[in-house]
């Protein structure tokens, strides 16, 4: 048994060297073929080793999960403003489950748009885009289609305003919980460190202090931001079709090269 392990290890080492040589020589085809062989050898090695160890416990079955779009929706509902995949995952990790990964969100917006185009308004909500002041979809941000248009469009001040609002919402949610999860407190602390007066050094943030500090800065930007957002929203209402209103104008013109 162990003899075949030794042989496999030798073969693996040799294949690795050959793969890397092929890669360095720019021979992509050969590299792929060799990688295939390598993977098979590694699999055989894994199998042999496992067979030798034999006693390995089967992993516990995962509890049933909410569909991805519902997990995202739940996080967005907590935040109340357009958010990046990163923040959505962080909120989900902090308050709900740790099962959502950033990579699962990459095609979400496109899937939602396809579904909307096929049968508009068939679902109670869509995970849609936030729109820039040029009415194009803002990169990487997700929003909820049921939100008022002013909430889903962005002026130059909106990223800061929305960040402050998210911090407030997270702090409020945290304050409501009898036993705040440590991950959530870490998330709030990290955000509060970037808000003047919201956190002291590296110490865990206090939700009430964080809310007060975030509001103090929000007061500075809120009126100007609301005005800019109203203007963009009005323009979007006049110029965009339903689908563009949710998923952005430039998507089509950019992708189809007609601008």
């Amino acid at each position: 048994m162990s003899e075949s392990l030794d042989a496999l290890e030798l073969r693996i080492a040799e294949l690795r060297a050959r793969v890397r040589r092929a890669v360095r020589e720019g021979d992509g085809g050969a590299a792929r073929t060799l990688r295939g062989e390598l993977r098979r050898a590694e699999k055989a090695w894994d199998a042999t080793v496992t067979a030798e160890e034999s006693a390995s416990a089967a992993p516990a079955p995962e509890p049933p999960l909410l569909p991805i779009r519902e997990q995202v929706h739940r996080a967005l509902a907590l935040l109340g403003v357009p958010a990046s995949a990163r923040l959505i995952v962080a909120v989900n990790d902090a308050f709900f489950s740790r099962a959502l990964r950033g990579s699962q969100l990459t095609s979400l917006r496109r899937d939602e748009e396809r579904s909307f185009r096929a049968s508009p308004y068939a679902r109670p909500y869509y995970l849609c885009a936030a729109l820039t002041d040029r009415l194009s979809p803002a990169r990487g941000l997700l929003a909820d289609s049921t939100w008022a248009s002013e909430r889903r469009v962005l002026g130059p001040l909106s990223p800061r305003v929305d960040f402050l609002v998210s911090a407030v919402r997270i702090a409020e949610h945290l304050a409501r919980l009898a036993e705040p999860p440590p991950g959530a407190l870490r998330l709030l602390t990290r955000m509060a460190q970037n808000i003047p007066g919201a956190a002291e050094g590296l110490a865990p943030a206090d939700p009430v202090t964080a809310i007060r500090a975030a509001w103090a800065e929000l007061e500075v930007h809120r009126a100007a931001d609301a005005e800019q957002r109203a203007e963009v929203a009005a323009r979007a209402g006049r110029q965009l079709s339903d689908v563009e209103g949710l998923f952005g104008a430039a998507t089509m013109s950019t992708l189809r090269g007609a601008c």
Partner: protein, 366 residues
Amino acid sequence: MNRLDALRGPVSARPHDARAIAALAANPGCARRALLDAAGVDKDRTARHLGVPAPFGRSQFAITRGNAFEALVKENGCAGLLRLLRELFGLAVEEVGYQDVESVGAHLRHSHTRALIDRAAREGEGTAVFYDHPLLSLEIAGHTSYLEPDVVAFQLGGRFHIVEIKSFAVIDGQAAPDKVAAAARQAAVYVLALRTLLTDLGHDPRLASHEAVLVCPENFTNRPVATSLDVRRQLAVLRRQLARMTEVDRLLAEVPDGLTFDLAPDGDGVPTRPARELAEALSRVPARYAPDCLSTCDMCMFCRSEARECGSTDLLGRQVRDRLGGVSGMAEALGMAEGVLTPAEGQEEIALLLRTAERLRQECLR
């Protein structure tokens, strides 16, 4: 057809990124490199086709770490960066505007950057503080290269600042000097591109500050820390080097007629030019190899083996060559040391020194 296009062959010129442009200043005396870069030849591909690729490579761990740190600094509308700039420059609390230039779509990024910078320069207050994913351009020997600084920040004292986000750590206030120097050289490229844009738009180029902002992780954490980086010297070096590149005509005048570095790619882009012929063509333009090339130039392995064949003292490093009084051939220097070669005029002194050194060495090793 343009001479440079003829050198490159029927492929489009390879654009330079900031790193490549900064590297142009690394070995200014090398005619081979100057011509290859001016013509936009893909040096990496060329070296590979010759069978001597440069020993460069980036680990995916480093790439992942770099991307993750940049994302962290920029998340939530650059909230982390904003805090650093508030601390570093005393930025007013109202100044929080953020524009993601990339949201207009790739093909409009450059013109959108231009429009936003123009507006900011004209209107001053009330415009965005951050321009994320901007796209600038710089003309290098007749070709436009597009450049992507991490962030351009405005409104720090009414000026634009280039922000460079790097994932090497600043530990107890100190960072690896070579990495800081490389960051400063890159930032200088962006400052120059931004100044060129401002000049084009009819604004004062000095609106683009020579103080870049370097953002790095602090100690062993992910916490970003910002430092102001004066890039005046790097700007001056870069300007001088780019000015020399416009003297490429002088270099071209010495290039034999019909010379080309064309790889003659077939329909699938696979080079068909015999490697030996290509090597022959390259050797018609003199290089100035130095061991430093091993970390900066794609052609390094080719030039090193050429220097070996010629027995050049360049191989041993600049320090050795200086010690040998600039004698360029190894055999020549050894010949003088062993007294079998009569020194040329002006070499008597170094020859005497080498002979004495050789005598002392022999005496001690007897």
